[in-house]
């Protein structure tokens, strides 16, 4: 029986490696015509014209990176707050219901988030939030171009907010576990010295968990990068590069989901697969950065 379990677990582990390698290989072969046809311009061109068979990935790459970054920007403070509340502040009877609520949020299918974003969030953005941003920030120098109108309701900012809600459960669960690992001895000593809760968070909890937090952020970012359905609904699916966060844009996974069915020319499907390969590489870089930062911070702390 021991041998059986050993073999099965070995096969499973090897299976993952083989599968990943096979996916990269197949994607690479299938995407090769696009890279061959467009070379480096594929990464910097904002033309995506299936009729003329000219493709460039820049708007999709920009949309993917910016929506994921925005998602992190919104989700991180909230997730941090929830996790700290759960571990340090919450009365015991609230802990369970809160955790269940967050876990339920993680179980909602992403298409539901998409519909919610389109039917509920987008009208609110269109009526109140985007006009406000256009009137206040839109006319400022430097950051003005990022908040130019008109107010469509959907767009890169809306996609970022929906994504933030989607990665929140993961981020919160992760941070809660991390905060729990802080030695109670340290915290109690700090409180005994008269430190406030904020000072404990700032000077005890955060520094001693820095490495794990960095790793968790990178994992959450990886999750946001690949999200497809919810983004497709609210991003606006516009294949041109616009700086404004309020303008419709597109993301890598949204482009693939939208167009793969009807990609009739070889170059069109090759370009979509090339987008997939680029997303794979971006995600790999993000995860590698996560690992590297964890290792770096851990080493610094040991000194």
């Amino acid at each position: 029986m021991n041998a059986f379990i050993r073999d099965v677990s070995f096969l499973s582990a090897m299976g993952v490696v083989v599968l990943t390698a096979a996916i990269v290989f197949v994607l690479g072969v299938a995407a090769a015509p696009a890279f061959k046809a467009f070379g480096w311009t594929f990464f910097v061109s904002d033309s995506w014209n299936p009729v003329k068979d000219v493709f460039g990935a820049l708007p999709a790459i920009y949309g993917t990176l910016v929506t994921s970054f925005l998602a992190l920007l919104f989700a991180l403070p909230v997730g941090f707050g929830i996790a700290f509340f759960l571990v340090e502040l919450s009365p015991p009877f609230l802990v369970k219901p809160l955790r269940v609520a967050i876990e339920l949020l993680a179980g909602i299918p992403s298409i539901v988030f998409g519909f919610w974003g389109l039917f509920v969030l987008a009208p609110v953005f269109q009526k109140y939030i985007q006009p406000f941003l256009i009137d206040t920030l839109g006319s400022l120098p430097l950051i003005g171009p990022f908040f130019e109108g008109p107010a469509f309701g959907i767009g890169i900012l809306t996609a970022g907010v929906v994504l933030a809600i989607m990665i929140l459960p993961f981020l919160t669960a992760f941070l809660t576990e991390v905060f729990k690992t802080v030695s109670p001895l340290l915290k109690e000593s700090a409180y005994a010295l008269g430190a406030t809760r904020w000072e404990v968070l700032k000077s005890i909890v955060t520094p001693s968990t820095r490495a794990s937090i960095a790793g968790g952020i990178m994992l959450a970012l990886g999750r946001a990068l690949g999200e497809t359905m919810a983004v497709t609904f609210v991003i606006g699916n516009f294949h041109r590069l616009k700086l404004s966060l309020l303008a419709p844009g597109t993301s890598i996974s949204a482009s693939i989901a939208n167009e793969f069915n009807e990609a009739t020319t070889d170059l069109h499907s090759a370009s979509l697969l090339a987008l997939g390969l680029i997303l794979f590489v971006i995600t790999f870089i993000v995860l590698a950065c996560g690992k590297a930062s964890v290792a770096l911070l851990a080493r610094r702390e040991r000194r």
């Binding site: 073999d7 014209n49 009729v51 497709t232 294949h239 009807e262």
Partner: protein
């Protein structure tokens, strides 16, 4: 890890046998087809009625025209379906036969304060200019000229288009490219194109929802979808200079005027057809079958289904707000089926 235990070997063999058995059982029975999404409601309805009448099931997967073409070329399905007809040379190269199965129309819909369904009139050049982003406000002189009686607000036009590749977009862009050189040059016709302005929504329902919700929006949807959701459709000035509303009669008028007999492989675009009553954004959806099918028995069954559909499907087609093929065209289509090699008839 040089030697696997016997248990693992047994497990692997088991998996292999089970998958082989499943593969064999799935290949008998139903007629399998796949492709275009535009005619899917009609094909599904026909398939249901056909199964009740004859006991033969038709399994149609709306995976998109591109997928349909790929699958029928690969020989994994009995028939493929596409909204964009293949050129004669492409048909020859792949050894396929093509014919039109059903006709439908695309309708522009708007959301402007004070404009009722059918209240707004546009012509092809103006519609193309709107989607090119060259006309930005609803009170533009060009739109006012076509609608002297309407009081149009000074409101920004928001163009809504299909984000997912679709036959609806193909029909719409085919028309705009046919009537506007600038559109043909900058955008062109296709299932997915690079739109110069506006925003993309997913599916007919996405476009309809975005249009209904955004004041000043214009979108385009399948006729059936516009009717069933009572959207504010737009009347069009057609090639003959007459203003027409989208309807069963105006779609059929376009189909009747088309010159099917001299189009090899029925490769014909019904956009902007002549005729006083023709709706300009009309199109057929096509079926593809191999000339030398690997499974002749299945090909025969598929043709029997299509034959039945031309004879008995008209009522269902109309009920779904699509248009059946005119009888004169059906005769031509059936003659073209002789190209399909069904082997020894017995």
């Amino acid at each position: 890890m040089t030697s696997f235990s016997k248990n693992v070997k047994a497990l692997l063999w088991g998996v292999l046998f089970v998958s082989l058995a499943l593969g064999a059982s799935a290949s008998t029975g139903d007629i399998c087809g796949a492709g275009a999404t535009f005619p899917y409601p009609v094909y599904a309805k026909w398939a249901d009625a056909y199964r009740k009448e004859t006991g033969t099931g038709v399994n149609y997967q709306a995976i998109g025209s591109g997928g349909g073409i790929k699958q029928v070329k690969a020989g994994t399905i009995a028939f493929g379906a596409t909204d964009k007809p293949l050129e004669e040379s492409a048909l020859e190269a792949a050894g396929l036969v093509q014919w039109p199965m059903v006709i439908g129309g695309v309708v522009p819909v708007v959301n402007i304060d004070g404009v009722a369904p059918g209240g707004l009139v546009l012509d092809g050049a103006t519609l193309a200019a709107i989607y090119l982003g060259r006309i930005s406000f609803w009170d533009d002189p060009k739109i006012k000229e076509l609608n002297p009686a309407l009081s149009l607000p000074h409101r920004l036009i928001v163009q809504v288009y299909r984000a997912d590749g679709s036959g609806t977009s193909f029909l719409f862009t085919s028309y705009l490219a046919a009537v506007s050189d600038a559109f043909a040059d900058q955008v062109g016709a296709g299932a997915s194109v690079q739109w110069p302005a506006g925003m993309g929504a997913k599916g007919n329902e996405g476009v309809a929802n975005m249009t209904v919700r955004t004041l000043g929006a214009i979108g385009y949807v399948e006729y059936a979808y516009a009717v069933q959701n009572k959207l504010a459709f737009v009347k069009m000035v057609n090639k003959a200079g007459k203003t027409v509303a989208p309807s069963f009669e105006t779609f059929q008028a376009a189909a009747v005027h088309a010159d099917w007999a001299s189009a090899p492989g029925f490769c014909l675009n019904l956009a902007d057809q002549p005729g006083e009553k023709s709706w300009p954004m009309t199109g057929a959806s096509f079926i593809l079958m191999p000339k030398h099918p690997a499974n002749k028995r299945n090909a025969e069954k598929a043709l029997a289904f299509f034959d039945w559909a031309y004879k008995n499907g008209a009522e269902e087609t109309r009920a779904l707000d699509y248009v059946p093929m005119p009888d004169s065209v059906v005769t031509l289509i059936k003659a073209s089926w002789k190209q399909i090699d069904l082997g020894e008839q017995n």
